[in-house]
C-alpha cells in the first residue's frame, strides 16, 4: 500500500528492510482469519460484479413472458419456443435475476466506492486543514461540523432526491454519489482533525521542522502518512454504510431508477413478491449481506492491525 511513502527517505537504506508500521500492520492483518476470508470473498464478489452479467445468456433488461416469476431452473421456455436456463430464476417481468443481481452489485458497489471517495476527499482536506491551522479557525470549522451532525441525514437525502434527483439514468446516479458523499464526510473530518492535532505535536514533526522541511512536504510526507491508519479503517466502514443508505433510498423508490437496478431496488421488488417468488428476495439479500459482513470484518481487522493497543 502506501508503505513506500513513510519509513526512510531516500530509499537506499531500505535494503536493510526495517519493519515499518505498515509492514507490521499487513502481517497482523493477514494473520486475522476473518479478515482474510472477508477479503477473498469480497474479491470474488468484485470479479462477479464485473463478469457476472456476461455469464448469463440474458441481459438484465431482457424480458421473457413465457417464464415470469419463474423459479431457478436449467430448462425454462423462451418466447420463441426454445429452452433456456435461469440460475437464480426470473422476476415478475421475466427478467433474469442472475444478471440483475450482478448489475445491482455493480451499481451498489460503485455507489459505495465513489461516495466514499467523495467523503474521503472532503473529510481529509477539511479535517487536516482544521487540525493543522488550529486555534480560532479550528473552533469555527468544528462547530460547523457539529451543526451538520445534528441534521437528520436521511431526510436531507430524501429532500434532495425528491427535488433534483429523480430524472433517471446516469445523472441520477451522479446525483446519488454526490449527495451521499457530500453528507457522509463529517466523521471522516473529525477523525482526520483529531489525528492531525495529535501528530502535529510529535517530536518527529519538530525534527522535520528543524531540518528545514517545507510546509507542503511536511503535510504530504510526515503528517498524512501518519494519520492514514484510522482514516483507512473508517473508510472501510463507510463503504458498507453508503451501500446501506443507497439500498434504503432505492427501497423507498427514490434511489436508482429503472431500467438500472441496485441491490436495494432488487430487494424492494423481491419483498413485494416474497410469497410467490422468494428467490427474487433471497439472492440480492444474500450477496448484499455477504458484502456488508466482509467490509465490516475487514474494517475490524484493519483496526486491530493498525492499532494493536486497542485490542
Amino acid at each position: 500500500m502506501t508503505d513506500t511513502s513513510i519509513g526512510t527517505p531516500g530509499g537506499k537504506i531500505a535494503e536493510i528492510k526495517g519493519r515499518s508500521l505498515w509492514d507490521d500492520a499487513r502481517r497482523r492483518l493477514f494473520a486475522n482469519k476473518a479478515a482474510v476470508t472477508a477479503m477473498i470473498l469480497l474479491g470474488l464478489l468484485f470479479i462477479m460484479a464485473v463478469v457476472g452479467p456476461f455469464l448469463s445468456p440474458h441481459t438484465f433488461e431482457e424480458q421473457n413472458y413465457a417464464y415470469t416469476s419463474g423459479a431457478p431452473t436449467l430448462s425454462a421456455p423462451t418466447q420463441e419456443g426454445g429452452t433456456t436456463f435461469y440460475l437464480f430464476g426470473t422476476d415478475a417481468n421475466g427478467r433474469d435475476i442472475f444478471a440483475r443481481t450482478w448489475i445491482g452489485a455493480r451499481v451498489s458497489l460503485a455507489i459505495g466506492f465513489v461516495a466514499t471517495a467523495v467523503s474521503l476527499v472532503i473529510g481529509v482536506i477539511y479535517g487536516a486543514t482544521s487540525g493543522f491551522i488550529g486555534g480560532r479557525v479550528d473552533n469555527i470549522m468544528m462547530r460547523i461540523v457539529d451543526i451538520l451532525y445534528s441534521i437528520p441525514h436521511m431526510f436531507v437525502f430524501i429532500i434532495l432526491l425528491v427535488v433534483f434527483g429523480r430524472s433517471g439514468g446516469i445523472l441520477n446516479l451522479l446525483m446519488l454519489f454526490a449527495v451521499i458523499g457530500a453528507l457522509e464526510w463529517l466523521t471522516m473530518g473529525r477523525i482526520t482533525r483529531g489525528q492531525t492535532l495529535s501528530v502535529k505535536e510529535k517530536e518527529f514533526i519538530e525534527a522535520a521542522h528543524a531540518a528545514g522541511v517545507g510546509r507542503w512536504t511536511m503535510i504530504r510526507r510526515h503528517i498524512v502518512p501518519n494519520i492514514l491508519g484510522p482514516v483507512v479503517v473508517y473508510m472501510t466502514l463507510t463503504v458498507p454504510a453508503v451501500i446501506l443508505i443507497e439500498s434504503f433510498l432505492s427501497f423507498l423508490g427514490l434511489g436508482v431508477q429503472e431500467p438500472l437496478t441496485s441491490w436495494g431496488r432488487l430487494i424492494a421488488e423481491g419483498a413485494q413478491e416474497m410469497e410467490t417468488a422468494p428467490w427474487m428476495l433471497l439472492f440480492p439479500v444474500l450477496f448484499m449481506a455477504v458484502t456488508l459482513f466482509c467490509f465490516n470484518f475487514i474494517g475490524d481487522g484493519l483496526r486491530d492491525a493498525l492499532d494493536p493497543k486497542d485490542r
Binding site: 445534528s150 436521511m154 429532500i159 446501506l244 423508490g253 427514490l254 410469497e275 456488508l292
Partner: protein
C-alpha cells in the same frame, strides 16, 4: 453547568433554523408548483389560488409567514396533493402511530441491548460474548427492510402467529413485528457500545477500589460499573432516535402502518412538498432537541465532561 446548557442551546436553535430555512428554500426552488395539473388553469384562477396560499409573495416573505404559522398556531400549511387536508391535520392523525412504535422499539433496544452488552462484557471471550457479538454484527449489517419482510413472511404468513401487516387500531399483536424489526439495528449498536464501555470500566481503578474495599460483585457492577459503562449508550441516544425515525420510514411502508413515515415517503414520491417539509421539520426538531438534552444530560452524568467544558 448552566453556562454549558446555554451555550449548547445557542447552537441548537440556529441549527434548527438553518435546517428549516434550507429545506424550505430547496422545496420552493423545485421545478413545478402545487397546481400544475393535467388541466391548464385560466390565469386569473391560478392567480387567485396562488394568492390564497401566499405563493405570489416574495420567497422570504413566504418563509416568514410559514414560520409564523408554525410558531403561533402549529400550522404547517395546506397539503399540496391531499387537497382537503392541512399538513397539521395529516400529521396529527398519524404521529401517534409512529410515536408508539418508535418509543416501544427504543425501550426494547435499550433494555435488551444493554443487558446483552453487560452479559458479554462480564463473560468476555466466552461463548456468551461471541454469541452477543455475532448477533450485534448481524443486526448492524442486515438492514431493517430486509429483516421486516422476512419476519412478516415467517411469523405472519407461514406460522400465522401474529398479523403479517396492518395497524388494527394499535392492537398489541399488530405491533410486535414492526417494533421488533425496528429495534434490531439500534439494539445491536447499544449491545456493542455497552460491551465496550463495560469492559473498559471493569478494568478501571475505581472499580478495583470498590472491589478492594470488599463490596459484593453485584453491588460493584450495579452501583459503580454500570453508571460509567452506560455513558457511551447515553451519547448514542440521539443517533438512535434518528435511526428509529429513518427506520420507521420503511417499516411503516412494509407493514402498511398509517404513521408519519408513510406520509413522508408517499409525500416525497408524489412531490407533496408541504407535507414533506412539515414532516422533516418535525423530525429535525425532535432530533435536535433530543441531541441537546442528551448533551446536557451527559454533562450531568459524567463530571469529567463538565470539567472540560
Amino acid at each position: 453547568m448552566i453556562w454549558f446548557a446555554l451555550r449548547r442551546l445557542m447552537s441548537a436553535v440556529p441549527t434548527l433554523f438553518i435546517v428549516i430555512f434550507a429545506s424550505f428554500m430547496i422545496m420552493h426552488a423545485a421545478p413545478g408548483g402545487p397546481f400544475d395539473g393535467e388541466r391548464q388553469l385560466p390565469p386569473e384562477i391560478e392567480q387567485n389560488l396562488l394568492a390564497k396560499y401566499d405563493l405570489d409573495k416574495p420567497l422570504l416573505e413566504q418563509f416568514y409567514l410559514y414560520m409564523e404559522g408554525i410558531v403561533t398556531e402549529f400550522d404547517f400549511g395546506p397539503s399540496f396533493k391531499r387537497e382537503d387536508f392541512t399538513v397539521t391535520e395529516l400529521i396529527s392523525q398519524s404521529w401517534h402511530v409512529s410515536a408508539r412504535i418508535g418509543i416501544s422499539a427504543l425501550t426494547i433496544a435499550l433494555l435488551v441491548g444493554a443487558t446483552l452488552g453487560c452479559l458479554a462484557a462480564l463473560n468476555q471471550n466466552s461463548w456468551i460474548d461471541y454469541f452477543v457479538m455475532a448477533l450485534a454484527m448481524t443486526g448492524i449489517t442486515i438492514p431493517s427492510f430486509v429483516i421486516a419482510p422476512v419476519l412478516s413472511l415467517f411469523f405472519g404468513v407461514w406460522l400465522n402467529l401474529v398479523p403479517s401487516a396492518g395497524w388494527g387500531g394499535g392492537a398489541i399483536p399488530n405491533m410486535i413485528l414492526p417494533v421488533f424489526a425496528l429495534s434490531l439495528g439500534p439494539l445491536a449498536v447499544i449491545a456493542r457500545l455497552t460491551r465496550g464501555g463495560m469492559i473498559e470500566v471493569l478494568r478501571s481503578n475505581f472499580v478495583r477500589t470498590a472491589r478492594a474495599k470488599g463490596l459484593p460483585e453485584g453491588l460493584v457492577i450495579r452501583r459503580h460499573a454500570l453508571r460509567a459503562g452506560l455513558l457511551p449508550v447515553v451519547s448514542y441516544l440521539g443517533p438512535a432516535m434518528a435511526a428509529l425515525m429513518t427506520g420507521s420510514l420503511v417499516i411503516e411502508r412494509i407493514f402498511g402502518l398509517p404513521g408519519l413515515g408513510r406520509y413522508f415517503v408517499d409525500g416525497a414520491l408524489q412531490r407533496d412538498y408541504t407535507l414533506v417539509l412539515g414532516v422533516v421539520i418535525l423530525y429535525s426538531t425532535l432530533i435536535i432537541t433530543l441531541n441537546f438534552i442528551v448533551d446536557v444530560m451527559y454533562g450531568v452524568l459524567d463530571p469529567r465532561v463538565r470539567a472540560s467544558q
